[in-house]
Amino acid sequence: MATVTYERATCAYAGSDRLAVDSLDLTVADGEFLILVGPSGCGKSTSLRMLAGLEQVDEGRILIDGKDVTDVEPKDRDIAMVFQNYALYPHMTVAENMGFALKIAGMDKGERRARVEEAARLLDLEPYLDRKPKALSGGQRQRVAMGRAIVRKPKVFLMDEPLSNLDAKLRVQTRTQIASLQRRLGITTVYVTHDQVEAMTMGDRVAVLKDGELMQVGAPRELYDRPANVFVAGFIGSPAMNLFEVPVTDGGVRFGDRVHPVAREVLAANAGDTMTLGVRPEDFDISDSGAAVEVDVVEELGADAYVYGRLTQGGTESLVTVRVDGRQPPRRGERVHVVPRADHVHLFGSDGVRLAD
């Protein structure tokens, strides 16, 4: 049970002029499931490894439970980590793998066995305790890696893309298992993923990183409904939000053949003469007038269908995704007109930052 705090934590890799993690300020509450998400190279794994003590902190501090651990060895931080490739000890059995940390801690054999069996029961690993990792399937190995973390009852769990080596079906299943296990154990967890679906479905809060900087942190719903900038808007949600560069006109922005009204003080806050208009695929209505979309591809998913097409606006063509009713989707090559729902439109200034809605 512990809180985790990053205080302007910074990490620079030798030989790179860009910071891997740039003064990260982040607090994880006791028992919270926090997701670090972002594209590859955004510094999410580095942030996690800094917390683990596997990566040096060049500036700032990291605190666990209010105690500064910036210069504390990994083994003295009382944290457990699940690695992307599981990092099981290949020459030890499942039970030995799970009990290794307890053995090092000097726990006596009987208690160790009891703890390992308890964790094995929780993860359905009991029949495999005497096997070596190579005799296990991918999903079982993943559970052993989880078990190795659980038996220690650490202050904090760290998980570095633990699902990325599983096949799609197992990933969805394990996603739920991990989330419910974490809630049951109530141990503070920091979870790294590049998959925004995992981020949205598993975490209490999600922190989005890009190029070593924290873009936004908040509950999944908040990130989806009120993305703080263009990057978060485009990253969270699948299919991604449509983002259009639109010219500012008197009293609003021009989109298609209409003017989307924008409050005067918002217009005044924007420096340039264009804005970025964001509309999620489900926030378009098909209409008789509005912006014209040439349909390229239609994906029918049953209940819904996604239309991928081209929208020409002010001489530039942009790609657009529209969710439509799955029962009457337009056909390829057709031309449809779309109108964004006024109360679900996101506006970003020319610097990419969200303007008040």
Binding site: K75, M81, I104, R148
Partner: protein
């Protein structure tokens, strides 16, 4: 029924024919390479065969055999030869055998320990001077050990270690190629995440090394051990240069001593040529045993070496 089955059979026949052709064609093409391989086998086995045959001949039959050099003579004198070998000159051959074992295992084990430690450090730790020292190491791989014998001799005589067992063991403990092999193997064979996991599990650096990394390095360890033991066992020039007391000689140098005496016809009534032949045969037996015993690791090790 027959109507139904006949096309199947025809199909089978076609299939079988096609398969037969497929199997025959490469066989014909491989005749040349098989001939070449047979020649190589002959080339490598013949000296060994000669050694075995010659060891069974009496001193007279060695040079004067009615069946030629490559077939057994009229007398089968292997056991007589062996007993002479082990008793000649108060059993000095046994002494040499013991010396060879001491040098080979002392040097070989020492070289392996050093190579494992150094290779692990090169592969897994980032320390100042790592690149330059590894470059130096690679340079050292290129230098033949023989070229270093005289400088080594001078250094050893400075510290008055010449003509002692240390003079052979200490230089044999340095194996740049062994370090290189360990580094290459460890870099891939021991994933960083595994060491990270051990550190997270609370293991210190020593425990991480001994309980997590070392078991994974076993194939490479066996390979380096075998390479350095064989290397030291067969080493001739170094012991020749640094040892002068015949009581300290390993087999290689000892047999050469006999060779010199035999040429001068100074065997004291014993045919030294027979002893040289039998002694050579006996000297390769430990190596053959080691190879056969550790063969599976050795093969794994060879593929490691092929990575470079």
């Amino acid at each position: 029924m027959s109507v139904l089955s006949s096309p199947v059979r025809a199909d089978d026949a076609v299939h079988g024919l096609r398969e037969g052709r497929r199997a025959r064609r490469p066989r014909r093409r491989r005749t040349g390479s098989h001939l070449f391989l047979a020649f190589l086998v002959l080339y490598f086995v013949l000296p060994l065969w000669f050694l075995v045959v010659a060891s069974t001949k009496s001193p007279g039959g060695l040079f004067n055999s009615p069946n030629g050099a490559l077939w057994f003579g009229e007398e089968f004198a292997l056991f007589d030869n062996l007993s002479t070998l082990f008793t000649y000159n108060d059993g000095i051959y046994l002494r040499w055998l013991g010396n060879s074992l001491l040098y080979a295992f002392g040097g070989g084990i020492g070289a392996t320990v050093l190579a494992v430690l150094a290779g692990y450090a090169f592969a897994k730790f980032d320390f100042p001077g790592r690149r330059i020292s590894f470059a130096l190491l690679l340079g050292a791989v290129m230098v033949p050990m023989t070229a270093l014998v005289i400088p080594t001799f001078v250094m050893l005589s400075e510290v008055e270690l010449t003509n002692t067992a240390w003079a052979v063991i200490l230089p044999s403990m340095l194996s740049p190629f062994g370090v290189y092999l360990m580094r290459v193997y460890t870099a891939d064979g021991v994933p960083d995440e595994l060491l990270d996991a051990a550190r997270m599990d609370g293991a210190g650096e020593f425990r991480t090394f001994f309980q997590v990394a070392l078991p994974l390095m076993r194939p490479a360890i066996v390979t380096v051990l075998l390479l350095s033991v064989v290397g030291t066992w067969n080493n001739y020039f170094l012991p020749l240069a640094v040892l002068s007391d015949s009581e300290l000689f390993p087999i290689t140098v000892g047999i050469n001593l006999w060779q010199g005496l035999a040429g001068a016809n100074n065997g004291g009534g014993v045919s030294l040529y027979t002893l040289i032949v039998v002694g050579s045969l006996v000297s390769i037996i430990p190596l053959i045993a080691a190879f056969l015993g550790l063969q599976r690791y050795w093969q794994g090790g060879l593929s490691i070496g092929s990575l470079k």
